[in-house]
Amino acid sequence: MRSLCFAFQVYLAFAKKSFQRRMQYRVANLAGLTTNFFFLLVHIFVYTAFYAARPAPQPLSLDEIITYFVLCQVSFMLMPFWGTRSEVTSAIKDGSVALQLTKPVDFQAYWFADECGRALYYLLMRGLPTFLISLLFFKVTIPQQPTVLMAFTVSMMLAVFMSNAITITIFSSGFWTLDTTGISGMSYSIITLFSGMLVPIALWPEWLAHIARWLPFEGLIDIPFSIYLGKITGIAVWIAIGKQMVWNLFFIGLGRLFLTRGFSRLVIQGG
């Protein structure tokens, strides 16, 4: 128990360092906020125009769409594919992974800790301000039941966690391919598409939505937001969160496998 407690403190310290490192760039953050807000505005213009042309009832109302994209701008930066990546990501390519291996910590856990610090930074410095400003300008719906908010929080945390598990898996493939730009670019497209980040899955045609339901990526954006909007209720919430957990375990396991296999055949480049 004691050693577990100690281990936790070590990783907490890593997360804190990662958070503090980002606090240095305040002006850059302000610019980023403006950019987030601009994209949000264009999304809202586009959907307002689409909805104006077709008043027939849709699976999501315009207000719900607006809320969806506000949440999107609040949370996408928390996930490494769309936000800025942590320095650890390039560790395999530039060889600094050798240095990490000399530390008496678990590399995957260290990577997670670093990403968690990053995610917390973007939540506080980007996400919350974006949300508060959006409340002033747009019709953002807020769930009335506390249970919905709780389920959303859990689901959102699982989403951020999974985004890191996936990223670690992708970049661990660098032990074999050495250059991960191609593979990370390809997976970026698939993830962006099937997470529901560009268009909510509720608006997709049936056949494509069906494919999305069988893939893990809806757990990054669409599941938490659908819970927030009350589109998933009752027992379905538990199923959705369970699905996120299973996929989390899957990617953590796969990433671990890649890392241990990779370390056993590691040849350090760079210098």
């Binding site: 586009v46 390809m186 045609p205």
Partner: protein
Amino acid sequence: MHHLSLYFHFVKLRIRSQIEYRLSFVFDVCAQASISVIDFFMIALLFNRFKELAGWSLWEVGFLYGMIGICFAVAEMVGRGFDVFQRNIVRGDFDTVLIRPLGTFFQVFAHEFLLRRLGRIAQALVVFLIANSQLAVAWSLTKVGYLFISLVGGTCFFVGLFVIGATSCFWTVQSIEIINIFTNGGVFMGSYPFSIYRWWFRHFFTFIVPLACVNYFPSLFLLEKIGASGVSPIGVHLAPCAGFLFLGITVLFWRWGVLHYQSTGF
């Protein structure tokens, strides 16, 4: 003439170094293309549900999307030197540029050439060609010439944005992220008809940052939608020139910026 042959020489060197790792290069081009494919796929999904957007059909929007996509990708390919200029400032490399017997603008321009943007160009071109075949545009010599000028004007516009971003580095050292609003954001908003935006938004992107002039107005003319839009025809005809004008102004800004350069470096 000397500059031109020198430019092609530089570009040849750049291309050679980039295709050194062939497999990685092919992967990269494919990844580039796949990212933009899903972009348009999502627009198509929305049209599948909503059928039209402010009187524009899917392929009319595809026409807009293709045009802006080509301009931006070509601008990224040739204007890369300005896009990544901040590292020259951070490292103090700009000192070497100053002591060479060539103009600074030309040197920075000719320094980089991003061949892998071919994937993005190809994707945008395919969308444009499909849109064109679906729309049965009545092409004439005037229209082809006008399209060409619009595309070059659009490319100049985006290169101009990169130049502004680079010039600001003379003061801020780090590049200002805010320029992303106009580059990536410009591509995003330029993919939709301008009439859907609020008046202040439209005016800003017409008169201050002339995005509409190189994309939306030309499309109105080419697709014969001027009448329905309520925009003055003379304005539409002259619009693409705004891209050249914009680049011209940014070049002046660059020259002024160079005078304020103070070496950093380490």
